[in-house]
Symmetry: C2
Subunit: 243 residues, 2 copies
Amino acid sequence: MSNEFEKQEMNVTGEGFLPGLAIDTVIFGFHDNKLKVLLLTYKNTGLFALPGGFIRINEDVNEAARRVLYSRTGLIDIFLDQFYVFGDKSRHDIAPLKTIMQAREFTPDDNHWLLKRFVSIGFYALVDFTKAIPTPDSISDSCDWFELDDLPVLMQDHRQIIDKALQTLQTNLDHKLIGFNLLSENFTMGDLQSLYETILNKKLIRAAFQRKMLSSGILERVAKKWTGGAHKAPYLYRFMAGR
Amino acid sequence: MSNEFEKQEMNVTGEGFLPGLAIDTVIFGFHDNKLKVLLLTYKNTGLFALPGGFIRINEDVNEAARRVLYSRTGLIDIFLDQFYVFGDKSRHDIAPLKTIMQAREFTPDDNHWLLKRFVSIGFYALVDFTKAIPTPDSISDSCDWFELDDLPVLMQDHRQIIDKALQTLQTNLDHKLIGFNLLSENFTMGDLQSLYETILNKKLIRAAFQRKMLSSGILERVAKKWTGGAHKAPYLYRFMAGR
DNA sequence: GCAAAAGTGTTTAGGTTACACCCATGG
DNA sequence: CCATGGGTGTAACCTAAACACTTTTGC
């Protein structure tokens, strides 16, 4: 179903899309106690990039971002938010784009629409790592998770976009209580704490963390317990639907 | 000096500007214990709008916003921040634009660049009311302060833009300590408190407010005192340069 | 039994609220 | 001298930090 979009993304005129405007999404996942982001890889070029896309003529900007998120992960109803517009003229850098196109046997004209200056609206998304199905787009070879503290060199200003997204996530984590979106439906308090510790990059006090979370009233204790380790079985918690 | 821009803003092709992309600025001021915003007025049309503008081909988006702010107020080095991108397709509403143009004896073609769909980047600015010199742009008749709780009907989605800007201001007021930008260089604690009360729309406890502000360490007490009322002379405070 | 992780109780510290009191000033 | 607004002191209150203790489980 996304074939139709993808064909359009590669068309020669850029017709059907708002000109000069793009979306870049920083898709965060959490696995093995590591924060990860989803990157597109271009195998024959050594280039890495954030998933992104363009806005269709008859589409809301936020809708376009959801479409990008869906087509890279297969997920809907996911936490997704704008965080910044990247609009410096200095970000205009056509070399990597030319490389990518040429690696696909396509030599673009110098005023090909993709080589024009773009202003990009940055979005960040929080997804359940186990549920996302990374899917490359029409001009990339693969789409994979990369650890946030072990990122490859990224094209254009995509590294700054990730940094700014992480900052936003850090400042909103407490305030908006959005961490759950990175975990599976049921999780232990330990899972949640190590998620927080990873995002904020600092140790938290176990007892204090537990009480703060419980007193916030948004966690529901699921009666079931865990099976596994050589220690007391932790409760499982769930984000309460009733806000 | 802004003549050059303004001529361009009215040109027929939109040449020199990024297509389909605009800036809208919510410029906040504070006077007589009222929060105000700067609006452009179109006298022969009954239309009101936020100051806005376009981004020049060779200009950063944030630069463009500073240029708009400068050309409407004469102010530089002002608090100015992005807060949201308004990109719904439903905001495309050409009727008011046609009205404005026709009121200026200009009947645009239906595919005039100004009548195309625009995505707008919302900025909010905090200015010293006494220092700003409201200045209309080339297509408006005047530029004036309006009380936030007594706004006229605004064109397109500008009312929603203001509402979202106010929300952003409210949530950032404590966190980022940006209130000072709305006052003159020196102010009393009472001034600051009534500013906070106006923005947050609730009464604050005097003693608690004073201590919180003083303990934040960003206020410097200026030795001079106030002349005036039938009561103890309050200290004047100043925002500390040393962050 | 012991180590490890989980859950909770208790004490302490720091910040906020509420209330009180004194200060300065103009009428 | 008193009403008014400004500044600070004090105690009550609440939340968070620090620490301790108990529970559960696999080895």
